[in-house]
Symmetry: C2
Subunit: 327 residues, 2 copies
Amino acid sequence: MKTLSIEEYYQGILNGNRSMLSKSITLIESTNPNHHELSQALIEKCIPHSGLSYRIGISGVPGVGKSTFIEALGLFLIEKEQKKVAVLAIDPSSNKTGGSILGDKTRMNRLSVQENAFIRPSPSSGVLGGVARATRESIILCEAAGYDTILIETVGVGQSEIEVKEMVDFFLLLMLAGAGDELQGIKRGIMEIADAIVINKADGNNEVPAKNAAQDYKNALHLFPANENGWIPRVELCSAIEHRNIDQVWKIMDDYFRSMHANGFFENTRRNQSKFWLKHAIESQLSTLFYTHPQVKEQLKTIETEVVSGKLSPVKAASLLLELFKN
Amino acid sequence: MKTLSIEEYYQGILNGNRSMLSKSITLIESTNPNHHELSQALIEKCIPHSGLSYRIGISGVPGVGKSTFIEALGLFLIEKEQKKVAVLAIDPSSNKTGGSILGDKTRMNRLSVQENAFIRPSPSSGVLGGVARATRESIILCEAAGYDTILIETVGVGQSEIEVKEMVDFFLLLMLAGAGDELQGIKRGIMEIADAIVINKADGNNEVPAKNAAQDYKNALHLFPANENGWIPRVELCSAIEHRNIDQVWKIMDDYFRSMHANGFFENTRRNQSKFWLKHAIESQLSTLFYTHPQVKEQLKTIETEVVSGKLSPVKAASLLLELFKN
């Protein structure tokens, strides 16, 4: 990968040059340790221009219609609300399978040709410091490039939702009617972190089951404890493919942002996002330092086996490894 | 605190001497770094005698009747099932308030006088390496002392449930009828990790509301995705104060353990518990090493403020701190 000067990346981003934004994200995602310093310096420069967006996480199992929904929402926001929309994908599993949630861009071909849209698929291979790190940093760059709505797509089956929840202002969970097999892919714990549950594919013969499902979810959410910020999660129906009710889904988010600005929780969330990010950055760097330590690497497997078989206590095992690390 | 020889502690535990078990746990909970080596050696010796119990987490907000429930369950298990029952409390908040969930033992005065019961309140002050660490280790000691049922009480308002979930075989959530104010204290995400929800105080005028609540929770749990181990969480009613339906609650756990032994997930859970413990022990020791580093300590607050105000990127901030740490 040929790198440009930091000024070139920076000016390109501030001018809203999509190709330069794309190249900058590639730099951030690079596994080459030499690119790390440059990308960090770039983020440093962009931070003062960041923060002026709504960061929205969107999750759901494969088949729920995430791409269609995001395209419909993106088009609505650009056409009716005069927004600039960036779509980022986070999918840790793609590291292993080589697959990506967004896949080829053609799945959002109407959105991708919009001047006010920027679509970035999930990195298809390992990222130094993790996909979450790269996504957090990509948000900053997109904001510096003038995008005021950042949609972060995630697949709803792993730990990634919790990480995404920590980096967004609003978390939307897409569901389907028929709480059976489709649900099996959603990891337990995801439903409770949602600020809204949207039942997609509420069209044709599916409209009645979708309405029933919505009522069921409303009843279920009612049993959940309230959020600290006073927000009661809402349930809505939509048909992304028919572009129906997308305005009502947006209205939920709009209500949410208004109410969070009014009660001060918006700023609160942002401060927490920064703190989470710092905490994760420390953990990640500390953990890399530890697990790449030559002697730790050499002994870890053996020691773990002794722990699992009950021959060694985990605390003692950790102390042994820490001793190797300190030397 | 006067310490004994490791042999004295060890033999006392193996002989099921409750006073010695109690002293050993005090050693584990000690904030005196000099006790650390002795307590670790003791755990090392006890590990081969551990593991032969059911580890059960019990959570619920204050007022739900946890102590009354645990006493009723404990008495049932001792009298009808010939069990030996240890009750441990985990309550990180007690570090700050000085309060303890179990409080004075008199709250379980019928259970505490049983020969086959051991009750240990939450540590009332800071514990080196955290309360979770001490609880994990206390489980080992109780098992080595012959307790075959370990009830771990937790308060249902904090992060502690997730930690408890990782150290137990079964997680029970106590609830009350009337999904209103009582629920506000339960942290979001707790309901979804429960293997059973038990509505307590299903007595007198409260019986009908409790039945309705049980039905609501059944409907809600139905919407949750299934557990990886094939277990579908159950809902039951009981009146701990009248000792009613405690046998039915135990039947759920018994069914669970049978089915987990049959499908191999019991062993699987235990291996995961060991791995979690090792991971937490490494994280905890690494984190202590980092955050107690003199230069890190000196700079952390300033750097965090710069991050939150947007002057410095979290990743750069972490790198700066890591540089201080490495030197």
